[in-house]
């Protein structure tokens, strides 16, 4: 066993490291071809990570990305493709922001206010993804289509609600429009990060909690077992007594509830209002990170941080005249090469395992031994 685990650790590391090296190589080539100095670029990016602020911001991005990735991963684990995390978190953040900013909330104790906001966001996210789940189990509508459609519908709905006649307030002189700002009591204070001008989102704790809960749910609960079983083989799960329709609905609701959280760190920790410039597209980033982290709670955490760090260090590139899109290319190449590497390693491991099984069972005997 010791030998095997050592081997599997080695193999486990081989994939991501190999892939990273490969991705760097590809980007280096692209940079060289286009007349840039790959090493200078790398130095700039790594150098900017020495700034505490960049690290803090990377952590903050990672927090949001991680939540988004978990939301996506819950679906992935049972082969549900929730492309709708994007719409779910935007609608959830908008409505939760409206609630949190509402004047009647001012009188409530801070903890209750924050809790209500977060619960409201989870509820909205769950309802929005629940529509897709409901249509899937009752009408067999592919969740891929329905969530794409629901993303666009959410956009229209948010635009409709983000109107001074409805949930938005306008600020004189501003060209922005958003929900009423959340006052101090409704905000989640940041965690000071030494040397950085920006704090780390207080809700990074929430992300950690969600990650642990996700891990626990998958590995320690019956529900998680059913979820994984359904993902691995729907027919076997059905035969084992899993009600797949209920599972689809439940996991869509769960995925949506987590999606509802995606906007919270930013909303309660920084923006304090849902306005036109509230970050969009985090749902899609979540897909990439879930894939990169292989739906694994720890894997996704690393992936989220890597992603956040790449995003945050890209600003420095423009200053030295390198198009920062090189970072986006790098992200794409990393996803692809990590996965290729994992696939190669997986095949290799499978071969090793079969060989082990074979050896243990003595099926590798030579014909002479057989005839004997």
């Amino acid at each position: 066993m010791g030998r095997i685990s050592l081997r599997s650790v080695g193999l486990g590391l081989a994939a991501p490291v190999g892939a990273l090296v490969f991705a760097l190589l590809v980007c280096g080539v692209i940079l060289s071809i286009t007349g840039h100095q790959p090493f200078d670029v790398a130095e700039d990016m790594i150098g900017s990570l020495e700034r505490p602020r960049t690290v803090a911001n990377s952590l903050n991005s990672a927090t949001t990305y991680y939540l988004s990735a978990v939301a996506v991963a819950i679906g992935f684990k049972m082969r549900l493709f929730n492309i709708g995390v994007d719409g779910q978190y935007r609608l959830a953040a908008m409505l939760a922001a409206a609630l949190a900013g509402a004047s009647f909330m001012e009188s409530l104790p801070s903890v209750l206010r924050i809790l209500m906001t977060i619960l409201a966001a989870m509820l909205v996210g769950a309802i929005w993804s629940g529509i897709a789940g409901f249509l899937k189990v009752t009408r067999g509508v592919s969740e891929v289509i329905s969530t794409i459609m629901l993303n666009a519908i959410a956009t229209a709905l948010v635009a409709f609600l983000l109107n001074p006649d409805r949930l938005a307030v306008t600020v004189a002189g501003s060209n922005n429009i958003g929900t009423a700002p959340i006052t101090e009591g409704g905000q989640v204070p940041g965690i000071p990060y030494s040397g950085s001008s920006s704090d780390v989102f207080g809700l990074i704790v929430l992300a950690a909690v969600v990650g642990v809960a996700y891990w626990f749910m998958l590995n320690r609960t019956r529900f998680g077992f059913d979820l994984k079983a359904t993902g691995e083989s729907e027919s076997a799960a059905v035969a084992s007594g899993v009600n797949v329709k209920k599972m689809v609905l439940a996991s869509m609701l769960l995925s949506g509830a987590v999606a509802g959280l995606v906007g919270m760190p930013q909303l309660l920790g920084a923006s304090h209002s849902y306005s036109l410039d509230f970050p969009a597209g985090l749902g899609f980033t979540g897909i990439a990170i879930a894939l990169l982290g292989r739906n694994h709670p720890i894997g996704m955490a690393f992936a989220a941080f890597l992603w956040g760090a790449l995003d945050q260090t890209s600003n420095v590139l423009d200053l030295s005249g390198v198009p920062k899109e090189i970072v986006v290319i790098m992200q794409g190449v990393i996803v692809l090469s990590v996965v290729i590497a994992y696939e190669l390693v997986r095949r290799y491991k499978l071969r090793l395992e079969q060989r082990d099984v074979g050896r243990a069972l003595g099926t590798t005997k030579t014909p002479e031994e057989v005839q004997a």
Partner: protein, 511 residues
């Protein structure tokens, strides 16, 4: 050996093929005379299919040579083998369900005309071949709609369509009833008469002895004997195959009681397209009784089983388990009430190939100790019990943390049987419990069923293996087009009688 008397159609020399962990073929030598039926026998995993795939260019041998009609060949793909006139019907059907028979047949060798496929010519040719060999295949039907027998004939048509002179048939009779087998053999003799060479794999030794001109026996990846059918008995052949005597399916004294465990009445199931696939079926099984259901595949067995398990909705009917109505209960509740389930297709319904053995132990028992505690999994409980099953049922595995997919089919099956027997079920629904399982495992599974029956378990046994059915059942029923058409006393019935009842030709008697 008479191989020197006529030209050799196929000569395999020193074929060796290694897979990770397994030497599938080790220095195999086979010589097949032109214009003969040559049978290849051997237990599961002996390397028969692998050898045939090598001959057909689907796999490359690590060592050895292949000669066709005296000329040495080097096959990289099936296309190379097809080019020299080899055709193969695979153990598992190689058909695309969503394509028509015609499309499946012409695939890869399409008659061209007018910038596309010449459908007219293809249709004519298929009808012609179909008529000539009495295959009765309609080129325009979707393969999805065909039964196993028809699929088998489409497979043969595919080969004939390409004008193959050497036919490989890998276990063509496994899914056929005796009458269909006879028809097939009729076809084979006709083909042989036309000078074709046939390589034929089967586990059914009587068949082998009746149809083959030569027999090659394989064991553990190598050829251990070449015999003529006249020189051996089935028993001798079996001993050559396994190196020991064959186990026989049989029950000892009757344990049947009059306490009904399963009472199903008027079960009616319709398929999604509105056909009635199960029509007012009633089944009763008492404690300690094994009810065997015989039937050609696709006559409603799968639907019956799935209806009993609550996987398929009922249009009408009532199911009671030990007197309690379970008609409206979910699959999970039914399992909780004490139904064990050995599915016919273990990869589809029985195991999670990418999960470990102990996780597979939990599957189907997600609500019961020792694998769970409340809403949480009990990992140590599940692991301990998995170890127990591995030991008791002789599941050959290095440990319980390997993925189920890396076990052989037989060992997977033993794990499933062990799992379904745990938790003391009152009713066991066993669909083809020994399908594709080698003799050792077969004997073990039969023994477990006997043991449980002695402890008052009720068993619904569905099998395509008529010997198993006759040997293991306390009573026997025949299913045809969604109805039970006849009942037999297993002690008094022959496989032939059963076979004709299964095809609708026989006259079953009430018993």
């Amino acid at each position: 050996m008479s191989s020197s008397e006529s030209a050799l159609a196929v000569e395999l020399r020193g074929i060796t093929k290694r897979f990770p962990g397994v030497v599938a073929n080790a220095d195999v030598n086979v010589a097949v005379r032109t214009g003969t039926v040559h049978a290849l026998v051997g237990e599961n995993g002996a390397g028969k299919s692998t050898l045939m795939k090598i001959l057909y260019g689907m796999q490359r041998p690590d060592e050895g040579t292949i000669s066709i009609d005296g000329t040495q060949g080097d096959f990289h793909t099936p296309a190379d083998a097809i080019a020299v006139g080899i055709g193969m019907v695979h153990q598992h059907f190689m058909l695309a369900d969503n394509l028509t028979v015609l499309e499946n047949v012409v695939l890869g060798d399409e008659p061209r005309g007018g910038g596309g496929i010449d459908f007219k010519a293809a249709r004519a040719k298929i009808k012609d071949i179909s008529a000539r060999y009495g295959l009765g295949v309609d080129p325009d039907r979707l393969v999805d709609e065909l039964g196993v027998g028809e699929r088998q004939r489409v497979e043969i048509l595919k080969v004939l369509f390409r004008g193959a002179r050497i036919l490989i048939l890998d276990e063509p009779t496994a899914v056929l009833v005796p009458q269909e087998v006879d028809e097939l053999f009729g076809n084979l003799r006709e083909l042989k008469a036309e000078g074709l060479t046939i390589l034929f794999i089967s586990h059914k030794l009587d068949e082998v002895l009746s149809v083959a001109d030569d027999i090659t026996v394989m064991r553990r990846g190598t050829t251990v004997a070449s015999v003529a059918p006249g020189d051996v008995t089935a028993r001798q052949l079996a001993e050559l195959m396994v190196g020991s005597a064959l186990p026989v399916p049989e029950l000892r004294e009757s344990t049947v009681t009059d306490t009904p465990v399963l009472e199903a009445e008027g079960l009616t199931v319709t398929s999604p397209d509105g056909r009635t696939v199960l029509e007012g079926m009633s089944v009763t099984i008492n404690a300690g009784e094994v009810l065997g259901i015989a039937g050609v595949e696709g006559n409603g067995q799968a639907e019956l089983v799935e209806a009993l398990m609550g996987i398929r909705p009922l249009q009408a009917g009532r199911i009671a388990l030990r007197g309690e109505d379970i008609t409206k209960l979910s699959t999970r509740k039914r399992r909780d009430a004490g139904i064990g389930y050995i599915p016919e297709d273990r990869h589809r319904q029985g195991v999670l190939l990418e999960a470990t053995l102990w996780e597979n132990r939990i599957l189907g028992h997600q609500t019961k100790a020792p694998s769970v505690r409340g809403l949480l999994l009990n990992r140590s409980g599940a692991r301990a019990d998995t170890q127990r099953i591995v030991d008791e049922y002789d599941v050959r595995t290095p440990n319980i943390d390997v993925l189920a997919g890396s076990l052989s089919g037989g060992n997977q099956q033993k794990l499933i049987v062990g799992r379904e027997m745990s938790g003391n079920p009152v009713l066991l629904i066993a669909s083809h419990p020994t399908r594709g399982v080698d003799v050792g495992a077969q004997a073990a599974i039969w023994e477990q069923i006997r043991k449980a029956r002695a402890e008052q378990l009720a068993v619904l046994l569905i099998s395509a293996d008529l010997d198993e059915l006759i040997g293991m059942s306390d009573s026997l029923a025949v299913i045809l087009r969604g109805r039970l058409v006849a009942s037999y006393d297993p002690k008094a019935v022959t496989p032939e009688e059963l076979g004709s009842a299964m095809t609708g030709a026989g006259d079953g008697e009430e018993s």
